[in-house]
């Protein structure tokens, strides 16, 4: 028995969900739901326990990094990619979030999906997702990380398209996969460049080799910068950042537990994880850092504006997710990696909760997702309301809920940004703050439209009922986490407040992070926190005013700002733009130019033309074989004259021909 059995057999953690997936996928079709539940929840639950034990052993061992090679997957020349897993503090956070939140959502899903067809298929996919996500966060090299990366994309494809009879669902799944592939294109090239430069894709070796290299200067497109920008392109695809965010809102076609797990809590944060994992490279590429910060900040703001006017409850949350992911990138981009990861974690709690609670609402409403047909639900589904309100307070940034702490530290870091000068930092901070205002507004708009005000549905058709316990229990646990999760990184100005989280991640991000708020900056931190709270409060108040107090004001506002409103409602027409600029022309060129013109008419036309030409020549020459003796005689004479002519008059050929005859 090894000293640290779970670490030595770390592969068990990801393998358990894979087994669950295989068992349910192959045999589940004939099983009752109960057995499927056991397999699905059992495998992820055991995986969670295994992860906990591994984390415990990791701390007990006191190592900075645990790393183990299990088997070689690809090896050619000097390239090796292995199933090597590693664990450090960053992995610990990710593994616990993935297995913990994942497990809760599995439990929730047994209630939510209870009456759906394809139950076994759903859990098989969901377990498959857990497997790939764990591979992603445990991987010790970029290639294995890419396995998880593509694998979660696959699971996402399968789960978005779970209701494959609906064309919109199938379309959304395909779109998600393809847009992600566009990002992966960059990710792959980034890997190739790193391998070309450093000769390895293993995290430990790669970062060790890159360590003595001088950092690229600002504005200089050196190896680090290009590699980081390429990796970030992959991250933009997976984490739905501008301009590749378009798949995530559509991904809401999937069942709600999927939206919670994959499209809010875990998979979409993979891009942030990759940037944080590659912090060593990014910190040497200031240009790339600035790009990350700007893209993150722009996405946060852009998505929040769209979220203001959406009426589908899940769409609001989807744009909110895009926006919050933008915050995480903003944090990474200004060098506050631990703040980014911290927001990743708290976001996993409250956003998963929001989606699950929204699922509970949808469940209660018998499938209705349009908030305009809800209203006044707070009394009927009390627990759902309370938990969802908790999450809303958290995401809006009210103290002492989790989102307050994480968002606050991001905004502080943005304010103190060093890349590209102080003014850039102020702009980033400004947009971040406005986004916080918008966030508070659209989240409370959601709450008010859904739970308060007049009842806008027909009670005869909709039988509103509270969800079963197996759906409510995860909600409550997540609500608890959304409240207390933030205290891991309490700001320094609070009595006894210490950023435990940053301290915890210190071994990973050591030497990279921009120094946080020190004693002198405490007052600044306090000021910024105060501003943030006021902003959040203002956002909530505006929502209250417009949607509860004076609903007619909202309508008037919509009328007076109609062009802006329509643009937002149609998401800035980005999908239409992509369709007109990329999809349609590509299909047209492929069909008309490449296939019909080049392939069929051009190449094949030539080939068949040659064949026809040969036939035609043969056909023509056939007439010389007339069988007529006299015409043959004429040909003989003509031939003889021709030969003689060549012999005597051809400038060079004559002698040769005579020579040949001799």
């Amino acid at each position: 028995m090894p000293k640290y059995p779970m670490l030595e057999y770390l592969w068990i953690v990801p393998l358990l969900p894979l087994l669950g997936s295989a068992v349910n996928g192959i045999f589940g079709a004939k099983w009752p739901n109960k057995i499927i539940n056991w397999v699905a929840i059992g495998s992820t639950g055991l995986s969670f326990l295994g992860a906990l034990e591994a984390v415990r052993e990791f701390f007990e061992s006191g190592r900075v990094l645990f790393r183990k090679e299990f088997f070689t997957w690809i090896a050619t020349g000097n390239f090796r990619a292995g199933f090597d897993l590693q664990m450090d503090q960053l992995t610990v956070v990710m593994v616990l979030v993935v297995t913990g939140v994942g497990w809760l959502i599995h439990i929730y899903a047994t209630g939510y999906m209870a009456h759906e067809g394809g139950y076994y298929r759903f859990f098989s996919y969901l377990n498959l997702f857990m497997f790939f996500m764990l591979i992603l966060v445990l991987a010790a090299n970029y290639v294995l990380l890419f396995v998880g990366w593509e694998g979660v994309g696959l699971s996402s494809y399968l789960l978005i398209g779970f209701y494959f009879l609906r064309k919109s669902a199938a379309d959304a799944g395909k779109k998600a996969f393809i847009v992600n592939r566009i990002g992966d294109f960059g990710f792959m090239l980034g890997m190739f460049l790193l391998f070309k430069t450093f000769g390895t894709l293993d995290f430990v070796q790669l970062f060790a080799k890159a360590d003595p290299w001088p950092a690229d200067a600002m504005g200089h497109l050196g190896t680090f910068t290009i590699a980081c920008l390429l990796l970030f392109m992959g991250a933009c695809g997976k984490s739905a950042q501008l301009p590749l965010y378009v798949w995530l809102p559509d991904a809401m076609e999937g069942p709600t537990p999927v939206s919670a797990l994959i499209h809010a809590a875990t998979m979409v944060t993979a891009g942030v994880y990759v940037v944080a994992r590659s912090h060593m490279l990014f910190s040497r590429a200031p240009t790339a850092m600035l790009a990350v910060a700007i893209v993150g900040c722009a996405t946060a703001f852009f998505a929040a504006t769209i979220g203001l006017v959406q009426t589908d409850i899940k769409k609001v949350l989807a744009y909110s997710t895009v926006s919050q992911l933008g915050y995480m990138f903003l944090a990474c981009g200004v060098g506050a990696f631990s703040a980014g990861i911290f927001h990743l974690m708290t976001h996993a709690f409250f956003k998963a909760l929001l989606f699950l609670a929204a699922g509970s609402v949808i469940h209660a409403m018998g499938g209705e997702q349009d908030m305009l047909r809800m209203g006044g639900l707070s009394k009927k589904i009390r627990w759902t309301y309370v938990t969802m309100l908790t999450a809303t307070l958290a995401i809006a940034g009210f103290p002492p809920f989790a989102g307050f702490f994480s968002k606050d530290s991001i905004l502080l870091s943005a304010f103190q940004n060093e890349y590209g000068g102080r003014n850039v930092g102020y702009v980033l901070y400004g947009f971040g703050l406005v986004t916080a205002l918008l966030t508070a507004f659209y989240m409370f708009r959601l709450i008010f439209l859904t739970f308060h005000g007049k009842q806008r549905y027909d009670e005869h058709h909709v039988h509103v009922h509270e969800s079963p316990d197996n759906m409510l229990a995860p909600l409550m646990i997540l609500a608890l986490l959304s409240i207390v999760g933030g205290w891991l990184a309490a700001p320094a100005f609070l009595p006894g407040g210490t950023d435990y989280f940053a301290k915890f991640l210190q071994p990973v991000f050591a030497g990279v992070e921009v120094a946080g708020a020190e004693a002198g900056a405490r007052s600044l931190e306090l000021w910024l926190a105060g501003v943030a709270v006021v902003t959040a409060f203002a956002g909530a108040m505006v929502a209250y005013w417009l949607y509860l107090k004076r609903p007619e004001e909202a309508d008037r506002l919509v009328k007076s700002l109609n062009p802006a409103y329509t643009t937002l409602l149609n998401k800035y027409y980005v999908d239409e733009l992509y369709d007109a600029v990329v999809v349609k022309p590509l299909l047209w060129i492929s069909t008309k130019v490449l296939w019909k013109a080049a392939d069929v008419a051009g190449i094949d036309g030539t080939v068949n033309g040659i064949a026809e030409g040969a036939t035609a020549i043969g056909d023509g020459v056939r007439h010389t074989q007339s069988g007529n003796t006299r015409s043959y005689a004429v040909w003989v004479v003509v031939g003889a004259i021709a030969i003689i002519a060549v012999i005597f008059f051809w400038p060079f050929g004559g002698k040769t021909v005579i020579g040949m005859v001799r």
């Binding site: 290639v143 009879l165 996969f177 393809i178 992966d184 190739f192 001088p214 299909l587 492929s590 080939v607």
Partner: protein, 534 residues
């Protein structure tokens, strides 16, 4: 006699024995015909596995060599041998033959005997091509294989079968005629058809009795061989026979065509073009690579808009084989290994795609995508298999397509990042055409009533598909079993063209990149020093 027994001869001629046995049966004795064909091909497969033992990991050169005098003047001899590359191509062939036989179990109803005879003769020809070490013998098998394939298309094919068969034969012949000229030229210059001897002579300086080709001659010879191979691959723009041949061929024909026949072209490039004409290969590399990259993107785009499912898969082959050619002509050992791997992976995954398309055709007698739609409802298992294979074809990690594609791109990038970047677009496009067509065939509501009652996979089909799926997964996970054995052979081929320097990761001590990279000349010097680019 060289050591190694007669395993290779057995492998070549055992299918012929089986074909003879079939010829002795009465034509309507369908049951026994199928069973005998299956047993013969399975036995052949097991025999071929014996070769693995004989090819040691890490050793270059040919193994299990056989040599017998055949014709004294001109000196055409029976010379066989196997190395790491041909080893797996032969196994791929012997593996796909029983699969093809099983796939034709029900769908071939007339001239059953002749059909299976043709399949076995085809196997003979293909195995012969991969194992021949004599140029003339190689050419002989190259032509032999043409006949059964043409018949498979022309007799058991679909509506335009004769057109497709004639096109296939003429296209291929046009290339192989030039190759014959090249072979005879080499014989005139060297006095032998023996491949290892010719190769050795070409690598020996003139002063020591070797043969040095003038650049122009070498280029012409290179082109003579290359054209034959490029048509077979098929490399853009010589690919137009392929969609027709595939669409018209019966399922088994398509499986063999895509699975192994196309690989004869890329195999030829590895075995002949590069080692025999290294200088010309180097000079041609950029043009070949350009065509390969065009093929990757063009094939994928054209595949995307095909209304015919089988044509779609056929065009996807153009795209996938583009990766193989690119990997070969990037002259990097990783990309070369990737190319070899991609050849095998494509054989499995595209072969399976053709099997699946054939199964759909068995049920509905059409390849038109818009005749389908919503098939996941009546046939969930077939839909699951199809998705699995489509994913392997689009290069999902842990399935077989990824390893080859990734290595090709990775290796190519080390030498020519621009080539790799363009080719990597194929990764996006393959997802587009596969998932889009998959959606149109399997997702959504059922659009045509007659599709509602289609049966799901039969036990026979299930076993075929499960076997393919297991191989797909195994190749995706356990690639080192294969790459360890192909490494030495691939390396020696590439070294004949371009010496591979052991890779040294750049260290700042020697490079000090910031300072030197400021002048473009210095950057080039550094990169050429590091990567061994001329």
């Amino acid at each position: 006699m060289l050591p190694g027994g007669h395993l290779l001869s057995v492998l070549i001629f055992f299918p012929a024995v089986g074909a003879l046995a079939l010829l002795l049966l009465r034509g309507d004795d369908h049951k026994y015909i199928r069973i005998i064909a299956l047993i013969v091909s399975l036995a052949e497969f097991l025999f071929s596995l014996l070769m693995i033992r004989a090819v040691p990991v890490g050793r270059t050169g040919y193994h299990l060599e056989e040599y017998a005098r055949w014709i004294d003047q001109p000196p055409i001899h029976y010379h066989l041998g196997v190395d790491g590359i041909s080893l797996f191509l032969v196994i791929l062939t012997t593996f796909l033959t029983p699969i093809s036989i099983l796939a034709s179990w029900k769908s071939i109803e007339h001239r059953v005997k002749e059909f299976f005879v043709m399949l076995l003769v085809l196997e003979l020809g293909v195995v012969g091509v991969f194992l021949s070490l004599d140029l003339f013998l190689f050419f002989l098998f190259w032509e032999v294989m043409l006949i059964p394939m043409a018949f498979l298309i022309g007799i058991w094919g679909h509506e335009r079968r004769v057109y497709a068969a004639v096109k296939f034969v003429l296209y291929t012949m046009a290339g192989s005629i030039l190759m014959l000229v090249g072979i005879i030229w080499l014989y005139n210059a060297t006095g032998t058809f023996d491949l290892p001897t010719v190769e050795a002579l070409l690598h020996t300086p003139l002063s020591q009795g070797g043969l040095e080709l003038p650049p122009r001659t070498e280029m012409l010879l290179f082109l003579a061989f290359f054209l034959a191979f490029a048509i077979k691959v098929p490399l853009f723009p010589l690919h137009t026979w392929l969609p027709d041949a595939h669409v018209e061929a019966p399922t088994a024909g398509s499986v063999m065509l895509a699975g192994v026949l196309l690989k004869m072209g890329t195999y030829g490039m590895i075995r002949f073009s590069l080692p025999l004409f290294p200088e010309a290969s180097r000079r041609a590399a950029r043009w070949v690579a350009a065509l390969a990259i065009i093929g990757i993107i063009y094939g994928a785009l054209v595949a995307m808009v095909q209304p015919n499912l089988k044509k779609l898969v056929a065009y996807s082959s153009v795209s996938h084989l583009g990766f193989v050619v690119l990997g070969i002509f990037a002259f990097h050992n990783i990309s070369m290994q990737g190319a070899v791997y991609q050849m095998l992976a494509h054989g499995i995954s595209t072969g399976t795609l053709f099997l699946l398309v054939g199964m759909l055709h068995d049920r509905r007698h059409t390849f038109e995508i818009n005749e389908y739609g919503g098939l996941a409802t009546p046939m969930p298992k077939l839909a699951a298999f199809f998705l699995f294979v489509a994913l392997s074809s689009l290069g999902l990690p842990m399935l077989n397509g990824f390893v080859g594609e990734y290595l090709v791109l990775l290796g190519t990038y080390q030498r020519h990042w621009g080539w790799a970047s363009w080719a990597a677009l194929g990764v996006i496009l393959s997802a587009c055409y596969l998932l889009w067509s998959y959606q149109r065939v399997f997702f959504g509501e059922i659009t045509q009533e007659k599709n509602r009652i289609l049966p799901d996979v039969s036990p026979r089909e299930k076993w075929i598909l499960a076997t393919m799926a297991i191989v797909t997964l195994w190749m995706g996970m356990g690639s080192t079993f294969i790459t360890a054995r192909t490494a030495a052979a691939a390396q020696s081929v590439i070294e004949a063209v371009e010496p591979q320097r052991p890779y040294e990761a750049a260290t700042p001590a020697s490079a000090a990149p910031q300072a030197k990279l400021d002048s473009p000349g210095a950057a080039k010097a550094i990169s050429s020093e590091r990567l061994g680019i001329r």
